[in-house]
């Protein structure tokens, strides 16, 4: 990545070390500690099968958190994740009921529905300048309303297509779940977009100082709009994968992804105020959250305990390194 005067490999190492954000390092350290703690509890924690299984579970959250990260980098937030996920899942399954074409178009259609939610969010934030947390809450409610009307309030009867199931549960490369591959591809694309494209630079610029970005001739509104659309699309894609995993969509399948996706991004060192953060950190955050969940469930910690521990861990870690400057 380095083309500084130092040049070459010699230039890479110091830069890599410099870039090693304490937050990312902390997150990875926590992962190691969790694995060690888990291995004390059960030997299988360090087995490759278990770790791959964890990565597979993590991949759904990873896809969703990727979109969330893009939005958080802008200094915004997307609270419409729960029903973007559910909408993606339900609409993909619904499309599958419409003959052959429906089966083929199921996945793109599900994603497109998420993109549509994201566009509404982005329009509200960028053009109407409604605070993102408000407009995304509102679109979440609308998406929920639409889905309730569509499904009649019951879990939808349509089931996932074979392609969806294959994406979520199959493995093209023997031993490596497809979900992990998909996450890796999306992650690689995200890293490329953030580091190599003018869009990525603009995202960081807006997150740091929207005024300066605007005065530098960036079309800030378009960038914000696109970021929200991507976030909506990725949430819906996460929903498609989840539906494939469970073979069908469910009413509140997205609820369990809002807090973890924000937490994964923030625990990975991305500033909630925007402009700072690396995708590596988000990967660490996603794995950390997934492991935490896994260990809590292996320990048969009830849902209540999990929620409490999440909340406490997030607040604690934010207090450690996510605070706003002292005086403003």
């Amino acid at each position: 990545m380095s083309e500084t005067t130092l040049g070459g490999i010699a230039g890479r190492m110091p830069k890599f070390l410099r870039r090693a954000d304490p937050a990312v390092a902390t997150a990875f350290a926590c992962i190691v500690i969790l694995l060690l703690l888990g291995s004390l509890y059960s030997r299988s924690f360090l087995s490759p099968e278990y770790l791959l299984q964890q990565l597979k579970v993590a991949s759904f959250l990873g896809v969703i958190a990727t979109g969330m990260m893009l939005v958080i980098l802008l200094g915004q937030i997307d609270l419409s994740v729960p029903w973007s996920v559910a909408t993606g899942a339900m609409m993909a399954c619904a499309a599958a009921a419409y003959g052959h074409a429906g089966v083929v178009l199921a996945i793109p259609f599900g994603i497109l529905c998420g993109v549509a939610i994201g566009i509404v969010n982005g329009f509200g934030v960028a053009y109407l300048r409604i605070p993102s947390m408000i407009i995304t809450l509102a679109t979440n409610a609308v998406a929920q309303g639409l889905m309730v009307v569509y499904t009649g309030g019951f879990s939808p009867q349509d089931s996932a297509t074979a392609a969806m199931r294959y994406l979520a549960t199959g493995s093209t490369i023997p031993g490596v779940p497809n979900g992990v591959i998909i996450w890796a591809l999306i992650g690689a694309a995200m890293v490329f977009v953030l580091t190599r494209t003018s869009f990525g630079r603009a995202v960081y610029g807006i997150g740091n100082r929207e005024r300066a970005a605007y005065l530098s001739g960036i079309d800030t509104r378009r960038i914000v709009m696109i970021a929200f659309a991507v976030s909506g699309g990725l949430s819906a894609f996460g929903g498609v994968l989840l539906a494939g995993y469970a073979s069908k969509a469910a009413q509140s399948m997205g609820d369990a992804y809002l807090l973890p996706s924000i937490a994964a991004v923030v625990l990975g060192g991305t500033s909630i105020l925007g402009g700072r953060g690396s995708y590596l950190g988000t990967v660490a955050g996603v794995i950390l959250i997934t492991l935490l969940q896994s260990i809590l469930s292996v320990m048969q910690m009830p849902e209540a305990g999990r929620q409490i521990i999440y909340g406490v861990v997030i607040v604690a870690m934010l207090l450690l390194y996510g605070r706003a400057p002292a005086s403003r």
């Binding site: 309030g153 809002l258 607040v315 207090l319």
Partner: protein, 326 residues
């Protein structure tokens, strides 16, 4: 005479919410199969009052230019707590009520401490504390259940002199005991000032932090009053995630309908109360017009979307585009 005009201008948001509520309520009762009877009013009041408490809670925080995404969860937590504690002899019941209210106060204080002294963004901080409160609620009531002192519950959800819904009276009392003193205190003014312009407030030597802290704390208290009433209506405690979220969401809708600015510094809890009552009535309109109740969430979502978009009209008055980014 001029004073009267200024009073009107000050209370414009509240009056607008009142107007919307009255119109909606007239449409509602005239189309209701039973018509305008004490029973219809009582049912409507009981449903509306719950949201009104949560909306008041949200108002306090929104005035400081913050947001509390944990109000719904505080409501759930205190509901579950009440289903354990508000039982038994009158003395035990009283202690139980006090404990529930204290729990709400503590939840609010925790939010306030994290946001103000911990300097975390209100959104993330209250989502996280909301998870904790929900978890505690679930710990208390893994399954719906419990009970409540039914004499007290019936008294507070019934009718006074067979006409006036007691819950409305209770709401009035809470307004007089909590909201009015707060809004007229130095801290209340500090909360408004901090929400309107934190720098100007600082330059004028206003106790910003204490004002904001009070607002968060009282928000917790008000949410717990909502939790108590939820217990009185249902006789049980239940930690239902979706219902907590819905209360949070509706509280924001009610606040916006009630003329409280999400940018802070403007609005009153009275407006939010009417906003809450209007929002509930709108939801129930579908019912009297015989729409499929399935449409209700969508309808409410759309109303919320429209309500939050209305604020954007101020944008067209901005003449220096740099002001978009302040």
């Amino acid at each position: 005479m001029k004073d009267w005009r200024y009073l009107m201008a000050e209370q414009r948001g509240t009056l607008l919410a009142l107007g919307i509520f009255i119109v909606m309520f007239i449409i509602y009762t005239t189309n209701h199969p039973a018509g305008f009877t004490a029973n219809v009013v009582q049912t409507a009041a009981n449903k509306g009052v719950l949201l009104a408490f949560v909306a008041m809670a949200q108002t306090l925080v929104v005035i400081t230019a913050g947001i509390d995404l944990s109000v719904g969860m505080i409501l759930l937590l205190t509901n579950c707590l009440a289903s354990w504690l508000v039982v038994g002899t009158p003395f035990e019941t009283t202690l139980g009520v006090i404990a529930v209210l204290l729990a709400g106060l503590v939840c609010g204080a925790i939010n306030g401490a994290i946001v103000i002294y911990g300097r975390l963004q209100p959104i993330v901080a209250t989502i996280a504390t909301g998870a904790v409160y929900y978890g505690i609620g679930l710990l208390l009531r893994p399954f719906p259940g419990g009970s409540v002192n039914e004499d007290l519950a019936d008294a507070l959800t019934g009718k006074l002199f067979d006409v006036i819904p007691t819950s409305l009276v209770a709401l009035l009392v809470v307004v007089l005991v909590v909201w009015v003193p707060f809004s007229r205190s130095v801290f209340g003014r500090a909360a408004y000032a901090a929400g309107s312009s934190e720098t100007a407030a600082y330059m004028s030597g206003v106790p910003i932090r204490r004002g904001k802290f009070f607002a968060y704390m009282l928000a917790g208290l008000l949410a717990s009053i909502g939790g108590l009433f939820l217990t009185f209506f249902t006789y049980t405690g239940e930690a239902a995630y979706a219902s907590g979220n819905a209360y949070t969401l509706f509280s924001i809708a009610a606040v916006v309908l009630g003329g409280v600015s999400l940018f802070g510094g403007k609005g009153s809890a009275i407006g939010a109360i009417f906003g809450a009552l209007a929002f509930r009535t709108i939801g129930d309109l579908l019912f009297v017009f015989d729409f499929d109740p399935l449409w209700q969430p969508l309808f409410q979502g759309v109303i919320l979307l429209i309500a939050v978009s209305l604020g954007a009209f101020a944008l067209f008055r901005v003449r220096n585009r740099l002001e978009w980014f302040l």
